[in-house]
């Protein structure tokens, strides 16, 4: 992650300066301050480049004076419409415009009107700067991105730093998800996935891993039929974060469930070759639940949450499940497998019923890259949202809007449910034909929630991005981590603003930044506050992590 520091405004001695400006700020006081320091180059350059402050506009002035290598003007659009998402986008757009710079300062003083505006800018910057380059071994050093740290200039660095702590935890969660989703399937198989989730124990998350035998004992016939064709054994991982004071026995947690098919060939109903490489991200639902648990634990959310992921690989082989096979799910309901490529719902069926039975959660939200049909229906701007609970659905949509992860409500209904009637079993795993394919998939899942308030997010269209977005680079998006974190923050832990500041962190200066710069722009420059850097160490766990020695219950 980029190093983030907050400081009072001062002219950096070197590196880049980013100046986000609203349309109304052109020719204003803030621009005037910098213009004076830069000998009039800013006003001349902005005019020559026709910088208007329009939303998303980014204009670079090279060597604008004062030792700066470049100055990037980032447009915020109209001041009235500026919001946290706009602040994040400005941070992201700034990073994208920094090219080969190693260090940069972003003057966030034009962005405000709410607590945490400067931290929002920082969040946008780190989210955009993330890169997955574990497997680039021959990339020349000069081709690698060099940006190591960003200093956000603002009026109250202390307050900004306090706001940053929770956002930093969210970014860590997003990065875990992006990494899991990006990993190729020969590396990230179900056992490896489970092992990586064990690392959440350091944050105070209890992690229980269920292997093949455990799942057999439990009777996960639906999930196990998917993995039976693979050489990789399945795993179910149960993650628990108990952030409230209540005794675990008394608490009714909320639950998040993810589909984790580490690779989906389609099985015997094998997929066409074109584009199949993308099926490494058929575990994005599980990856999102993992990242969410990390974000919640990282910011010590005052909530009791369970996260369950069903991890399998779907392969064709002599032992693979066949079309026509009938399997018995954990719930006891029987399923006729018509299409082995409709495997995600088979995995989720068992995990959903198990979650309901064991935890009796207040609600369950599952995420899954479930159907291509949801892309045909909605495209890749919205995920599909199915729910049996109006309030839950509305809260999810609302949370999504505020973090820029949009969900569109899709219908459920008896008429759709009838499409999965089977002649031989309680249900079949696909409806007839392609009509309403996402809806019939949701109907299938609904048969396993046992009346629990539930929402299903079909994220097949949003889990992977073909193009860079302001705060989301191309590739794994981690769609859902931020939405569900916001859902929890808004509705399940009192006030969202009460994000704890990790105590006892060492303060360190970001190397190479000119905190001693003579040109203090702010009134009454408090130089001692000027270079508060982010600690590199992870926040201390809420309580000593317990080794996951508990055996799964039957």
């Amino acid at each position: 992650m980029l190093d983030i520091a907050f400081a009072k405004a001062s002219l950096p001695e070197s590196g880049a300066l980013v100046l986000p400006l609203a349309e109304e700020d052109l020719g204003g006081a803030l621009m005037g301050e910098w213009d004076r320091l830069l000998g009039g180059n800013l006003a001349r350059g902005a005019a020559a480049a026709e910088f208007k402050g329009r939303k998303g506009q980014a204009t670079t002035l090279y060597a604008p004076g004062g030792g700066l290598s470049r100055l990037v003007l980032v447009g915020l659009g109209k001041r009235d419409s500026l919001d946290p998402a706009g602040a994040e986008a400005a941070g992201g757009n700034a990073v994208a415009a920094l090219g080969r710079e190693a260090l940069a300062s972003i003057d966030a003083r034009a962005i405000g009107g709410w607590a945490g505006a400067a931290a929002d800018v920082a969040l946008g910057a780190v989210l955009r700067a993330w890169r997955f380059d574990r497997y680039r071994t021959t990339e020349k050093p000069e081709d690698k991105p060099r940006l190591a740290g960003v200093k956000v200039l603002c009026d109250d660095p202390h307050a900004a730093k306090a706001e940053w702590a929770s956002r930093r935890a969210i970014a860590e969660g997003v990065f875990l998800t992006r990494e899991l989703v990006s990993e190729p399937a020969n590396i990230l198989n179900p056992p490896e996935f489970a092992d990586r989730l064990r690392k959440l124990e350091k944050l105070g998350v209890e992690v229980e891993v269920f292997g093949q035998k455990d799942l057999e004992k439990l009777g996960f016939g639906s999930m196990l039929c998917v993995s039976q064709g693979s050489a990789q054994p399945p795993r179910m991982v149960v993650m628990r974060w108990n952030g409230t004071d209540s005794k675990k026995k008394d608490s009714q947690p909320i639950a998040f469930i993810g589909k984790g098919v580490t690779f989906d060939t389609g099985g015997i109903s094998i997929k066409p070759a074109a584009g199949m490489e993308d099926m490494k991200w058929d575990m994005a639902g599980a990856g999102t639940v993992a990242g969410l648990m990390m974000a919640l634990a990282g910011r010590k959310a005052k909530v009791d949450v369970v996260g369950l992921v069903g991890l399998v690989e779907n392969m064709p082989s002599g032992t693979a499940v066949r079309p026509g096979d009938v399997v018995t799910s954990y719930s006891g309901q029987t399923i006729e497998v018509i299409n082995t490529d409709a495997e995600g719902r088979l995995v989720l069926a068992d995990v959903l019923s198990y979650c309901k039975k064991r935890f009796d959660p207040a609600f369950m939200v599952n995420l899954a890259t479930l159907t291509g049909a949801i892309i045909v229906a909605l495209g890749n701007e919205h995920a599909g949202l199915f729910s049996n609970d109006e309030g839950l659905a509305a809260r999810i949509q609302e949370a999504g809007k505020s973090v820029g992860e949009l969900a569109w409500r899709m219908p459920l209904g008896e008429a759709y449910d009838r499409a999965i009637k089977s002649d031989i079993a309680d249900m079949k795993n696909v409806g007839g034909g392609r009509a309403g394919g996402s809806i019939t998939a949701a109907q299938f899942l609904q048969r396993f929630v046992d009346g629990c308030p539930w929402a299903h997010l079909d994220i097949a269209g949003v889990a992977w991005g073909g193009k860079d977005q302001p705060t989301v680079p191309k590739g794994a998006t981690a769609w859902g981590v931020r939405l569900l974190d916001r859902l929890v923050a808004e509705h399940h832990e009192g006030r969202a603003a009460e994000a704890p500041v990790p105590a006892g962190e060492p303060e360190a200066a970001v190397s190479g930044t000119g905190s001693e710069s003579p040109a203090i722009l702010a009134e009454g420059g408090a130089a001692s506050d000027a270079s508060i850097a982010e600690p590199v160490a992870p926040p201390a766990p809420a309580r000593a992590a317990r080794p996951a020695t508990r055996r799964p219950r039957r």
Binding site: D278, A373, I375, A377, A415, A419, A435, G436
Partner: protein, 493 residues
């Protein structure tokens, strides 16, 4: 057309159906046998009783559990039960039947009549053998005069639905753009103004979308405007009327292409709605702008890559000639805007994508106005033609950016980007984004993608109750109800 009438006197020895409500006692004539047969009205099943009424065949029709449309469903079940299956050639066909609606309130009688009329409608049948379908249905009531007003309204709507179904069922060699327009001029006798705009007029007006789509056919395109003159600014219906859709140069696969004779179901529904409003003398001013053309493959056909100038002046790059509906609608929507309407609602069998999205149980609802959207949703639920709101996202519009024209009308197959997800195109949303460019923002606009709902197919469940295979007339009742609930009541607003 099935002849439906109210009567107070049972005549003849025709089969009779008695709709039974679960919480009411059965008449003494039926009760003992019904008990023996363990008839349960709550199950929504039909029971045939022979010999209870002096040899006349009687049916008990279970109305099923409480449901807003249950009497309509019962009416449909009554007709379905009493009429012999057409494949049963040996039996004597039932051509005249009776539903015993005595004891029911006028509203309930009207609901029964609606269901019976929907189920009993006689689609065009061009076979030369004798007809075997139901010709006449009597509704036996206590007080015909009391039931008449609600019944008249149902009749008006049924005739509108019937028109839409008949038009959509007509084969494309009988229903060309020319003959479609001629049939619509026949609506003048109901007080509907009909204007047919031909090729020359369209050329003068620059209706480049409609003209391009119709150019490959031997039958030139038409823009037909129906007007029921009521008070104030009109409510405008806009309909896609492709009398046959081969796909054009981007020709469709042969399998199932015969169903493309029904690709004018949107236009037919709009015409049916205008007829219903006229027959029931609605005070509301309504117009229907119908873009009628045949999308044929021919030497004159428009091509992928062509750039068209539409009536609005916007230029459009053609990507796939099988996405022709949005091109003709672009011009029709522009024409409708010129009529200064208070709202525009277009209906089209537009995309296969909407069928993938919503299946055969709901039509897709797009638009730019929340109030109109909610009114349409409510109307759809009320008449059993449910809709579901769908998005027009900023990305859907950006997807239509063209390198050579103002916009392109769709994406090429597989054009959704690299990888697995690129194979799937949100074509319904993109089509709606395209139409939105032409609907403008001056009047509330809604777009109903009715592909998947316009046709009842063997073995495919759709709608609140089964209809015979063929066109469903989807949209007529919805538009009629929308006008009644939203525009007849809020005329002052």
């Amino acid at each position: 057309m099935l002849k439906l009438r109210l009567t107070e006197l049972p005549r003849g020895r025709h089969p009779v159906a008695f709709p039974a409500l679960p919480d009411e006692l059965l008449p003494a004539a039926y009760a003992p046998l019904a008990a023996v047969a363990r008839f349960d009205a709550a199950r929504g099943e039909a029971l045939r009783l022979d010999g209870v009424l002096g040899g006349r065949t009687a049916w008990l029709i279970g109305a099923g559990p409480p449901h807003p449309l249950r009497l309509e469903v019962a009416g449909a079940l009554a007709v379905a039960s009493m009429t012999t299956a057409p494949e049963d050639r040996d039996s004597t066909p039932v051509r005249h039947a009776v539903i015993d609606a005595r004891g029911l309130a006028p509203g309930a009688v009207a609901q029964l009549a609606m269901g019976a009329g929907m189920r009993g409608h006689r689609l065009p049948n061009l076979s030369t053998g004798p007809r075997r379908d139901l010709r006449r249905l009597d509704l036996l009531v206590d007080d015909a005069a009391a039931a008449a007003p609600a019944f008249a309204r149902v009749e008006a709507v049924l005739r509108g639905v019937g028109l839409a179904r008949d038009l959509a069922a007509e084969p494309a060699n009988r229903l060309t753009p020319t003959t479609f327009a001629e049939r619509l001029t026949g609506l003048r006798k109901h007080g509907i103004e009909v204007t047919v705009l031909g090729r020359d007029w369209l050329e003068r007006g620059g209706y480049g979308g409609l003209l391009a789509v119709g150019r490959g056919s031997a039958h030139p395109p038409r823009l037909v405007v129906l007007r029921w003159r009521g008070e104030g600014a009109p409510v405008a219906f806009v309909g896609k009327g492709i009398t046959f859709d081969t796909g054009g140069i981007s020709i469709k696969p042969a399998k199932g292409m015969e169903a493309m004779k029904g690709d004018m179901a949107g236009a037919a529904a709009c015409a049916g709605a205008i007829l219903a409003l006229a027959l029931r003398r609605s005070p509301v001013h309504a117009v229907a702008v119908l873009a009628v053309a045949e999308n044929a493959t021919g030497a004159e056909s428009y091509r992928p890559g062509d750039v068209l100038r539409t009536a609005s002046g916007r230029t459009v790059e053609v990507v796939d000639t099988d996405a022709e509906g949005r091109l003709v609608l672009a011009d029709a929507l522009h024409h409708a805007r010129g009529l200064r309407p208070r709202a525009i609602i277009d209906l089209a069998t537009l995309t296969g994508s909407i069928v993938s999205a919503l299946g055969h149980h709901r039509a897709g609802l797009f638009g730019n106005d929340d109030i109109l959207r909610d009114a349409l949703m409510a109307a759809g639920e009320a008449v059993g033609e449910p809709l579901w709101p769908m998005p027009i996202g900023a990305k859907h519009r950006r997807d239509l950016d063209s390198a050579i024209a103002d916009l392109r009308h769709c994406l090429p197959v597989g054009g959704g980007g690299p990888g697995w997800a690129g194979k799937f195109l949100p074509d319904a949303c993109q089509a709606a984004a395209f139409l939105g460019e032409f609907a403008g923002g001056d009047a509330p606009w809604a777009h109903l993608d009715i592909a998947g709902m316009d046709l009842r197919e063997e073995g495919v469940e759709s709608g609140a109750y089964p209809l015979p295979p063929g066109p469903s007339g989807f949209g007529v009742r919805l538009l009629d109800r929308l006008v009644a609930d939203r525009f007849e009541t809020s005329r002052a607003a």
